[in-house]
Symmetry: D3
Subunit: 255 residues, 6 copies
């Protein structure tokens, strides 16, 4: 049994509160155990310079933690004058993951800015950020459908992420901070509603892992992602999300 | 009548939720109308280099907004690589205000780090930050009393802050964002439980103000601060806060 | 009696030397006791990006000290790669103060850049900067009148600033550095020729102050500002400065 | 057939020139097709602050490209004043990968700095950097054995890396730049001499991939890494590298 | 005799390998003894903002060393977030020197970016960079002649540089690192094919030098530059470089 | 005749006002025509980290211009967050030049910080900075002699600098800004009281120069430096400056 009493293949309780920040076009608070992340989605009517006049849209993400999200205080990146390598890696990952299920060609020249602000951290902040950002992004996209700008959501599929790892030879789902610190192998898995892989980042810095171990971990991750997507479906029940066609074709969202 | 239906001398609803972030020694969420700030207090067993070996303690503050706390998205200061002048002014103000009611000499060589993270902004974020930080600071100080490190709180008095301003010749208490934008005179007032001024920052950039107007504004501010301190007393009821003696003498908190 | 022999309500000797830097459109050296600041005003035929196409002008200020303006050497902000919070606060204050007496609507899309460079510091550098900058700004504005670009100065009123404070229960006018360091209450006051307040920044970090004390300090400040404006009038005697109408109406300076 | 005539499971020609930079304790030029990277290893007799007094060693890496390593000129990161997110991700990856095969506990408080400078880029620069850095690191470690400071190399296993990807439904080994640009799935795989995974970073930003596809890619990567390790063994033939025992036990290298 | 056996007026062996980096329009590896510099030239079809619409071209240079080019590791300037004063001086020198022999008026609005990356340093890296950059620049210019964009090279003359210095009262040509460190006088000399001076930078920080000593040093430098230009002529033999007319008149290269 | 009526070998009027900034250990205002520089010297009782425990002293310099020292406003380097290449070159030059006449071994572990702040610029700011800094440095050194810390000045010789250049084939002494802008050859020369060269920086970016032209320029520079040193001797007449012995031997200044 794990330190918090869970079975090895059991997720922590997950809660997604939509419409959490009043100014944002889309927003939620996602809680995965004691990990809490505010995700907001902002619509902008233009794309970054490197994409101008390409006719496509863009989705980009930023990530931060408040200083006392963690057990000891982390100096602010703004005060240090630069964003850490860890933060850059995470925000690049979140952006890439979300773009994988978006029809950028169908967005017109618009940007969706995702902001993930961790207010309490207990492991899995990057995967919770991805799962929550998907909800905030859908909420923001739906604003454009409601206003008649878009006739449908330029989306291909659901998207969620979780972490898996190996501690003392046992494969575990959804590591909390204590577990994460003692795991010898650690893997973040981002998957779609169809069960395909979008990102796979496995690290065995302290102990390389075999092909067999990899299979076990991926199966656990699949189980976790399925549960997360079920929760996403529930909290997004008011927004029509039928990816039968959209998942395979290019969708032009412009009305 | 004001845009949100308040009387000119009426505060917005205020709510302080203590113990909001599990890792911090002290923390709260303060809500003043739609303005929401997470305040945390962190204890550190040393002081900054410029104070080493002086036998005194220090209180310092940092302030930030999540990008979508505001109506339009604000780029992160970490991404721009520097802290704006506005942020610096605010965090210097918060630190100075809190120090005014703390017996630094009685703290030993310890630092209290205050972090104010605005998750939703609707005017008055700096004054809400001061009012909330006081609560988080007391909660953190009390941890040291409970652990026996201190025998009493090294505190002189309560401390709270509000804003006042003049719109179309009328003096108003506790401006929300819309009001703040159209105010010709704007003043932030930080006061103690004894009704003394700690900080007074009045600006008539668009319209200089007379001595009389100043008196009206200060009276309004006094009313607002009294109400805020009443709320602080309520939420801190479990912590003994009797400033009879401490407000006038130097208190050595070390047990 | 004070350390330099002054009465409590007595200013230090003040001297303003106009036309001090040959390249600038406006410039002066202001000396307030041993505090010496070079103020220059630069005219630019455009406004910052956030004001483009608004038809209004802008006044902005920057402030710096040479490293050895102070008793011990201060590292250059350029060498440290960033401007300190103190500097930002001061330059924001100077800009805001000057704008309060300028008809921005009457300037056309022009910017006046104010630069305040402290070459010797002995307390009150920010208030001396404001008082001197007003003179440099008027000199520069007058260039545009002389060249026929403007038909009058887009100005509402005179503007000057001084500091007041409380030391050992006594209220003092125009603190020098030694006094400033030992003052428990410290206030900077910016006022117009009509005796109205433009900025009021009072801090009782080491000792909160009462409403009565505030009144005493404001009266002292009023006396000091009156004397400063008398000196401004004298050194600007060649430039017509009649604010009878301009102080209350919008003036369009464009010829 | 691929654009450069290779079979889908064929590596580009690989050449490793040892002892390439005379000042460095270890160095090589690794050429993988037209990708050329100078790898150096520097020994330092102390560890970074966060590891002091822990009795362990450290391996860290930095990565850069000369501006014209690529088809169009890339501005220098030094000139822009900050390291890009891509660079940070790569250097964190290289360091993590190398540490996975080093007995940090056996190094004493020493740091090995790895520098990877890409002088010509044609895809796969990060995997070439890992493969080349291993050689430079072994060369540097051997200096300490030769000087009698260490009695054996604190190493667990060989280490090499390659990339695999999917283009038009076909899985390919060792993508060059053109291929990399058009791949819908892209994976970097770092493996040990024993065939275990150290890092797995797969991205299907443009097209999620199935579990089956993953298996095919991993098999290709295994083939490539085997070939790279064979080359490493050849160029390092003069240095005794027998990991029979070291791969499974903690080795203390200090003589 | 010198530490490496050379006569006082003898250069180290010099080797220039053209076309060293495949992507660049011009490139070479220059080796002067153990000093090795990769020089690349990049053509860009526009000029920097300060030169727009002037009808002239521009040549600019950047310089860097890989961290282990030197005996001890130099931290990367990108990691430190700023370019050192030494680097700035060197890249300004290289750009200025190259521009002295280019008909900027004849280039059209084009920029040539020179990048000098030192991969191994043993004294004289800035002079080797100038000598090598000239070759890379000519190679890149020739691309525009071959493509018919230019009808001739907009060049006035050859250009090369070397260092001279005084050690123990003896004047020496082409100092290596050890010599450079112990030289009391140190001078970099950039000259044209016609034997004229383009740059002269002499420093006697540890021992001022007389007019006579200066003459001796300049004569030595002239000898070195003559030898370098002979080598440039040889490696550029395939490109027509006849400066009879061009050296004295303005040449318009545009076809 | 030159634009300001001078002969080709004539300096502009030079004036040095000692003891210009009251806080500094040494200071002066140097005026060379319309160029005005405040030079201060600060004594510090320690050396930079790279010189600790070497028993020697250090002299270092910083240089800046106020924004409106020039005809058009120059943005502050502090605001841009970095020091320009030009500034770095100049401050490195000033420091190197001053050190050439100081017995660093005789200073003990002390640093002299030189600050040159240009308040009005009309060409020759770097050479005026060197000439003025020498005076400020001597004044500061003399403080240590007067206080009994040193028994003599650790100085070898006088030091001054001027610029020379070629305009329309004529060699000119002490170029003002207009002349400097149109000069095809431009040279800064730093010399000692004994007529030796300390720094020689000649640039013929727009027109390479011959050996003969160099001789003419050096003779002009010698004349100018002689005049500057005569002025230094006059303004420093109260400080004993006899370099008979000190110029050739190492002097230990410690009492």
């Amino acid at each position: 049994m794990r330190i918090d009493g869970r079975a090895s293949n059991q997720m922590r309780p997950v809660k997604i509160t939509r419409n959490y920040i009043k100014h944002a076009e889309g927003s939620c608070l996602i809680e995965v155990g004691d990990t809490k992340v505010i995700c907001t989605a902002t619509l902008e009517d233009r794309v970054p310079p490197f994409m101008r006049n390409g006719g496509k849209g863009w989705v980009t993400a930023e990530y931060s933690m408040i200083p006392r999200a963690t057990e000891t205080r982390n100096p602010r990146e703004a005060a240090r004058g630069k964003v850490s390598g860890r933060t850059m890696e995470i925000q690049r990952l979140i952006g890439r993951a979300l773009r994988s299920v978006v029809h950028l060609e169908g967005m017109g020249e618009r940007t969706i800015w995702i902001d993930c602000d961790v207010i309490q951290a207990d492991g899995g902040t990057r995967t919770a950020s991805i799962t929550g950002s998907f909800v905030a992004m859908v909420e923001a996209m739906n604003k454009l459908v409601q206003s008649g700008t878009w006739k449908q959501l330029p989306l291909r599929d659901f998207l969620a992420a979780t972490s898996v790892g190996i501690i003392e030879e046992e494969a575990l789902l959804d590591l909390n901070y204590k577990e994460d610190s003692s795991a010898k192998v650690d893997m973040n898995v981002v998957m779609t509603g169809q069960g395909k892989f979008v990102e796979l980042q496995g690290t065995g810095e302290e102990s390389p892992f075999s092909g067999e171990q990899l299979q076990t971990l991926l199966a656990l991750a699949q189980k976790g992602v399925n549960e997360l997507i079920a929760i996403q479906k529930e909290v997004l029940a008011d927004i029509p999300l039928d990816f039968g066609r959209a998942a395979n074709e290019t969708v032009n969202a412009d009305a």
